[in-house]
Every structure is written in C-alpha cells, then in structure tokens.
Symmetry: C2
C-alpha cells in the first residue's frame, strides 16, 4: 500500500565533531522518505524554493520517491537549517540558525487528486496547521501518523493537540514527550500522550532506544550500538519512515508486527547517524538492513 508523507525538504548546514557540511539535502519528509521507500512507494509532499539544487529531486526520484507534490515556489527560498551537535550530547541538536523561506507560508501544499486516496498518511515535523490542512485533503486515511517538535509544542500547542486527537500514531522524542505532557517519567508521559488521542505512542530516546505504548502492547528496545556517530540529523525522521513503511507493507497491527516495525526502524535509523545527511541511507537496501537487524536482535534478545 502507498504512503504519503508531508513535511519539510530542506538544505542543511551541519557541524558535528566529525566535520562540517553545507547545503546537504535534509528535512523531515526527505529523511522519512529515504527510509520508507525500502518498504513501499512513497509520495512526498513539500515545498522548496527556486534555489533548490536540481540534483536533489533527481536523487530522490532515483530512489523511487514520487515527487508529484514536491512544489517549487516561484521566487521562494528553500528552508535552511544550520545546526550543531556537541560530542557530549549527540541527542540534542543546537540550532545555530533557521531560514524559513517558503515555509513561512501557512498553507498545506496542493496534492494531486489521485494522491488524496492514499490510505497511509504521515505528517512529519512541520507547522501543525499545515499538517491539519493536508490531513483534511485525504479521502479515507487508514493509518495516520504524526511527528512534531519542541517549537510547535511551545508555540502551536492548541493546533497540535487538535491534530493528534484523532490520529493512530504519535512519534515523539523523550524531551518532546516530556514538554507536551509535563510528565518527566516516560511511562507516565506515554500514558498521558495516549489520553490525548493517538492509539500508538512511540517515544524515541536516541542512543537509549525506544519506548512503545498502546492499550494492549508495551515494549522497549535499546538502540543499535553505534561507536562513531557522525551526524544524527534526521535520525528520528528516518526512524519514523522505517516504522510507517514497514506497517504499510505489513498491513496489520498486531504486537509482533509492531515490534518488527520498531526493530526495522531502529536499524535503519542506525545507518542514518553513521554519515552526514543521506550518505548512508543513500545506498541502503533491505538485505543490508536485515543483516544489521540480526546483529541488533542478538544484542537485545534474552
């Protein structure tokens, strides 16, 4: 089954202890798509500016990602993020600058009529009002997932709460979960998130792995042990892409399927952090993922 993802496509300037890179292809929808494409056909919905390098749409298309609704805003500038990670805390990005560019518009991008019938929808990190707008266009969504960030929790909490009330899956990192619920304890925080509407709660803890919470199923897995983290940008989006991609392909939601989805997502995200931007997810194939997944399973299995 197809999957449609709304989010950002960005140009990233990134500094980590491993080096500095400029004008990398980034953004929540781009990283998400690079993982989800391993399982299903992905339709990407985003807006970029006229300055967006031609090589990037070519790159994404070559990965099989449908760009029908990648809109190029005439006269607009692509969203840019300048971030840094310090050796002592790879879990927290320090934002040095953001240039919103085309993202300052508050409308959901138009999508093609046939795309409105896609049943799996992921609203990756972007202004929740735009997420609500896109969701409103969908005819009969079967599985709807949402990701967000501290910025929207702080400034658009009302819209975000309205959005997540009716969705299936909410993905947050630990600090976002704590911020949104006011609960420091992650189990309490997950419970609280569940009470806000989403049926499936996934709390990402970076190097510490994942906590999954639903009425019936609760579990936690550690992350794949990475010795040299090069650039964690997009790891959360990559994780979400792997998770949603696998769930779309599986077409069911029992405990085993959910656990497998999380294990796939964890594994795919572990590749993302080993290179800048999409260096590592570029060449990724399912056999390569499954090989590392085996290692991960032996690392976490009793």
């Amino acid at each position: 089954m197809s999957l449609i993802v709304l989010g950002t496509v960005a140009l990233d300037n990134i500094k980590t202890p491993s080096g500095v890179r400029k004008n990398l292809l980034g953004g929540s929808a781009a990283h998400f798509s690079m993982a989800a494409r391993l399982f299903t056909d992905v339709h990407l919905v985003a807006v970029v500016g006229e300055d967006f390098p031609k090589r990037y749409p070519t790159f994404l298309k070559n990965k099989g990602i449908n760009l029908t609704s990648l809109q190029i805003a005439s006269g607009g500038k692509t969203f840019r993020w300048h971030g840094e990670y310090k050796k002592e805390d790879f879990n927290t990005a320090v934002t040095l600058a953001t240039e919103l560019g085309v993202l300052s518009s508050l409308e959901a991008p138009a999508i093609a009529d046939h795309q409105k019938h896609i049943s799996n929808v992921f609203l990756a990190n972007i202004d929740p009002d735009i997420q609500i707008g896109l969701l409103g266009l969908m005819k009969k969504p079967r599985l709807v997932g949402v990701d967000s960030m501290n910025l929207w929790i702080r400034h658009k909490k009302k819209s975000l709460l309205k959005l997540i009330k009716g969705v299936d899956l909410f993905v947050a990192n630990d600090s976002e979960a704590r911020m949104l619920t006011g609960e420091h304890n992650l189990i309490k925080s997950a419970k609280h998130l569940r009470s806000l509407g989403p049926k499936l709660i996934v709390i990402k803890k970076g190097e510490h792995g994942v906590l999954f919470y639903s009425d019936k199923t609760r579990f936690s897995f550690p992350a794949y042990p990475i010795e040299t983290v090069v650039d964690p940008t997009g790891a959360g989006d990559t994780f979400a892409g792997g998770l949603m991609g696998y769930l779309c392909k599986a077409g069911k939601m029992d405990a085993k399927t959910l656990k497998t989805a999380v294990i796939y997502a964890t594994t795919i995200a572990s590749f993302n952090v080993e290179g800048f931007g999409m260096e590592k997810t570029d060449k990724l194939t399912l056999p390569v993922v499954r090989k590392r997944m085996k290692e991960l399973l032996s690392f976490i299995s009793y």
Copy 2:
C-alpha cells in the same frame, strides 16, 4: 557458593519528591547484600560506629546475612550520607553532606579466617585502597567484582586502575564509565574499560537499562518501567547484588547465564527504587522477583 562483600554500611538522610527520611539503613554493602541474599549466603564486611542503631544488625541478620565481619569501631561514628534527588533527574544524586566517621580509616576491616576462603568476592563502592586491602586477604578468589564511584575516579584513580586490572567484573554507571575512560560513547567506553583489565563490563544507565560488554558477549536491556520512583538510593548496589548473587548460584558464565543474571539484577533493582531505603527489598522473595521478571521479559522481548 558463598559470597563475601566489602563496602559501606551507612545511615542515610534522603530527600526525594516523595518525601524525606532520616537515619535509613544504607550503604553499598548493605544494599548489595539485600539483593544477593536471595540467591546465596552473603558475608558482609564493613565498619560502623557505636551510634549504629541495634535494630539494623538485627534486621540484616534476620535476612540471613552473615555479620561476622561487621565491625563496630569503638568511639567511632557511622558513615552518614545526606542526599537529594530532583524530579527532573532521578539518575543523579545530589550529595548535600557526607560525614565519613569510621570510613576515614584507610584499612580494610579484618575478616575471619574461614571467610578468607570464600571464592566469590564483591568489592562494593568504598575507597579503592580498602578494596585492594580486602582482596589481598582472600586465598583463592574465583569471581571478583568491583564497583566504584566518581569520588574515587577523581581522587584515587591510580589505586582504582591497579585494583581493576586483575578482576573479573567491573560495574559502573554511565557517568562513571565516561569519567574513567574519557569516552562519551558508551560502547567505546565499555571497550576501553575492558582494555583496563576486567573481563566483564557492566554499564548501568539507570532508567535506560544496562549495557553488558565482554570479549564474547555484548548485550543491552532496558530497565523495568517504573512509573513512580520513590528513592533510587542503592539501586546500583542492589543491581550488583542481584548480578553477583545469581552468578554465584549459577556457577557458570555462559552468555545465557550472564543475560539471566542481568535480567534478575534489573528486576531486583526495580523494587529498590519503589521505596525509601530497604522498604521494598525488605519483603522481597524470589517468587515475587520472578513474577516481575516475566513482565520485564514480555516488555523487552522481540
């Protein structure tokens, strides 16, 4: 097989979001023994002062803990720790005050001759020179484990490094592992610790669980999910007690045994944090532990 543990027996004043308690029985060897007693007979080696309340040795004896070498220093005062935990970070204790009392002596307590033949030895957190002293008394140790703390890493690194060079098991929390090795990444840190001598490395990550590292076996498990942490004091010592206790009882060291030991240790430590001092480990029995262990396994198993 018997187990001998050297460490502190203390009086703790503790403040947490759940309340304040004074003169609780605490200390590394006491918490360790409360867990290890579930699996094997435990000989406790420590020094207290004349002010040590009579009810505490009675309490420990009633748990089957051998106090032959719990020395009462005439004229001395029991080691006291005053600590606080904040809601936002239960993983880090804030030390408000310490009164060393009898711990200012730098000699290992004397032990009975028959105790020198005990083959399983745990050197719980105390001055590494005292740990070295006790180890020197042992006739033919089979399994030697060590725990330490930031204070000794900072001020007695040389002694600590000398001690751990020849031991089997080194247990550290994440911040201690990072401090001792200078490596922030925990896999690198574990590798580095291994290179310092100990064959088995256990890095405790509090609410995030445990990382185990040896030449042959590497694994990671999340912690048991606790919604209301009351007092984490002694959780690490309780963990170490469960780990060593199980390993002594099992009498072997294959991967399955090591994993089982870590799962037991994780489970037992989860009870410790649910009450002040030994409130919860007081009544603990193996059937109760095994019941929760089942829950933990369903929470972490793929």
